[in-house]
């Protein structure tokens, strides 16, 4: 088993990983920027090293400084958390070359799955349904029109190197296709330095459903069922839940098995999330694989009782998973709300600052993963999430009631948060019925 781990991250996920290490009797080493000297992860770690200035580029993204800290601290592994360097195959490689286990997949698997186009072909190879679309990149416009007609309009144009919606366009018919193509190409070129685009059928009213998978180095690949993350704003997840409401049992079985096939086929170890979109008829289509632990992993932990971070560490230590697929059962319903230091009344403008008075939500069925405390100053340099509020109850209805109760308890004098906005969403009939899609928030609340 690993003895000492450096966490190359900050905020709640650094705290989360430190907690798992502590419970496993593993030493935890924190790195931090000058802006995070007072952050909780620094104080909870066994050792802490300042790796540079406030800007991420000068600290949390500085590979050489993080590796240097790992050397000085003499750790045997590095946990990347999410964001920052978590899906940087180069960092992954440097860690391993420098003699540190990277707690995640191999650089090769990470790279393959990182390219949407390659991932899509791998999905097809593994009989994982994908959105009907062009085989590979679109060469010229005539080919595009031909393909689009085969797929059937409306079609979606996507950048192969894309993400966060950049380089995406919808074409309703052949006439609008050419124009949309060139727009998408230019946007993709500008954003990613890669103008390659492809076509796929445009799914109306899609739900975002993802399957949590984890594989060890002994050939075990298990899924921990799915999460529904359809409550999004500008492609940013706001609320996640498990299990997915209104997903028929046989579809749940199919989608989970497809995810396992995908990960097994990619010769992948450690935790991964396979993302799908689900159409109104419950047909599911592969979107991408996230080769990291995700923000929303706790909802899966709550319904399965399995600690995903501990399993990640076990896998990275070369040990088998602590459970078999048949041991994984769904118990009750879990919901997570991301609490961000943003002002919903001002178009979610981030508002960092000092939290003069802080009430943490608590009680039966409530889990709050956070790095903040009364007197803490939220620095302006990083993402605005100050905590994840997770609830677990026997039913979805009870989980919503507990979440609303817990949201009302949060007090952050000095800064405003998205807690109140979440409460509005939780009361909306579409959400209560579990019939919301990924456009629900923009349609019903923010108007994009």
């Amino acid at each position: 088993m690993l003895q000492k781990i450096l966490i190359a991250n900050r905020g709640e996920i650094a705290v989360r990983v430190i907690r798992a290490c502590r419970e496993m009797g593993i030493e935890a080493v924190a790195v931090y920027s000058t802006a995070d000297a007072d952050s909780m992860h620094v104080r909870l770690a066994d050792e802490a090293y300042c790796v540079g200035g406030a800007k991420s580029a000068e600290s949390y993204l500085k590979i050489d400084q993080i590796i240097a800290a790992a050397e000085v601290a003499d750790v045997d592994a590095i946990h990347p958390g999410y964001g920052f360097l978590a899906e940087n195959a180069h960092f992954n490689e440097v860690c391993r070359e420098s003699g540190f286990e990277f707690i995640g997949p191999s650089p090769q698997a990470m790279e393959k799955l990182g390219d949407k186009n390659t991932a899509r072909s791998m999905a097809i190879e593994n009989k994982v349904p994908v959105v009907p679309g062009s085989e590979g990149l679109i060469e010229d416009d005539s080919a595009a029109i031909k393909t689009a007609k085969e797929i059937g309009f409306p079609v979606l144009i996507k950048a192969t190197a894309g993400g966060g919606g950049k380089g995406m366009r919808v074409a309703e018919d052949a006439d609008s296709l050419e124009n949309a193509l060139s727009q998408a190409r230019n946007e993709a070129q500008a954003a990613f330095g890669n103008g390659g685009v492809y076509l796929e059928r445009y799914i109306t009213s899609p739900r975002h459903v993802e399957v949590q998978v984890i594989a060890d180095s002994h050939g075990n690949v298990c899924h921990l069922f799915e999460r529904d993350c359809s409550v999004q704003r500008r492609h940013q997840k706001l609320i996640e839940e498990a299990p997915s409401p209104n997903l028929p049992a046989e579809k749940r079985k199919e989608i989970c098995e497809a995810a396992v096939r995908m990960i097994r086929g990619a010769d992948y170890t450690n935790a991964a999330t396979v993302e799908f979109i689900v159409d109104p008829d419950d047909n599911f289509y592969f979107i991408e694989v996230n080769a990291r632990i995700q923000v929303e992993h706790p909802v899966t932990e709550m319904i399965t009782g399995i600690d995903l971070i501990k399993e990640q560490i076990r896998v990275a230590s070369g040990e088998p998973l602590s459970f078999k697929q048949e041991d994984v059962e769904v118990r009750g319903h879990a919901i997570e709300c991301r609490i961000n230091a943003e002002n919903p009344d001002r178009n979610f403008m981030p508002n960092p600052g000092t939290i003069s008075l802080f009430y943490a939500p608590g009680g039966f069925g409530v889990r709050f993963d956070s790095h903040v405390y009364g007197g803490y100053t939220v620095p302006p340099h990083y993402d605005s999430m100050i905590g994840k509020l997770i609830v677990h109850q026997p039913t979805r209805e009870a989980a919503i009631a507990t979440m609303r109760r817990a949201l009302a308890e949060i007090r952050t004098d000095g800064i405003s948060t998205t807690a109140g906005f979440h409460d509005k969403v939780l009361q909306h009939p579409e959400f209560v019925a579990g019939k919301h899609d990924t456009k629900f928030v923009e349609r019903e609340f923010t108007g994009n």
Partner: protein, 158 residues
């Protein structure tokens, strides 16, 4: 290691002010005036102000993104510090046999190599980036340092 780290302390921290006020009350102080660099905490209470020795917090204030001299560990005695620009292992000598690059009393200028910080098998020679006299060596040979960690105290030439 954490001891060397900047705290990003906040002068406006109500809790600390409350602590100081408590002290003032208990000991009937009429004035407290704490200064460090650009930071200042000045509190007055009742009667006539009485002069009071400035007690600087134990922990230095935050070092900026790039750690130039004179930021971390200043104690307002006119000296400045040379801070580690990176994480790594501090070497006072080029090799075990040789003399230290600098010692207490050494006169230095901006280009003087004061030490080596080794990280990822690379031995980085660290220039003083200031002119003056070394009055204290703050890190032992082959001790680890992190970003912004004060390594030398220097009396600058005025």
């Amino acid at each position: 290691m954490s001891k060397g780290k900047p705290t990003g302390e906040n002068v406006f921290d109500i809790e600390r002010i409350r602590e100081i006020v408590k002290l003032m009350e208990e000991h009937e102080l009429t004035e407290v005036d704490l200064q460090q660099g650009d930071d200042r905490i000045k509190l007055g209470r009742g009667g006539q102000p009485i002069a009071m020795p400035a007690a600087a917090p134990a922990v230095p204030v935050a070092a900026p993104a790039t750690a130039p001299p004179a930021d971390a560990g200043s104690v307002n005695d006119g000296t400045i510090t040379i801070n580690a620009p990176m994480v790594g292992t501090f070497y006072a000598k080029a090799n075990p046999e040789s003399e230290p690059f600098v010692q207490v009393g050494s006169m230095i200028n901006a280009d003087t190599i004061v030490c080596i910080v080794e990280a990822m098998k690379v031995f980085n020679e660290i220039p003083a980036e200031c002119t003056g006299k070394v009055v204290e060596v703050l890190v032992a040979d082959q001790e680890p340092v992190d970003f912004g960690k004060p390594m030398f105290r220097v009396q600058p030439n005025s």
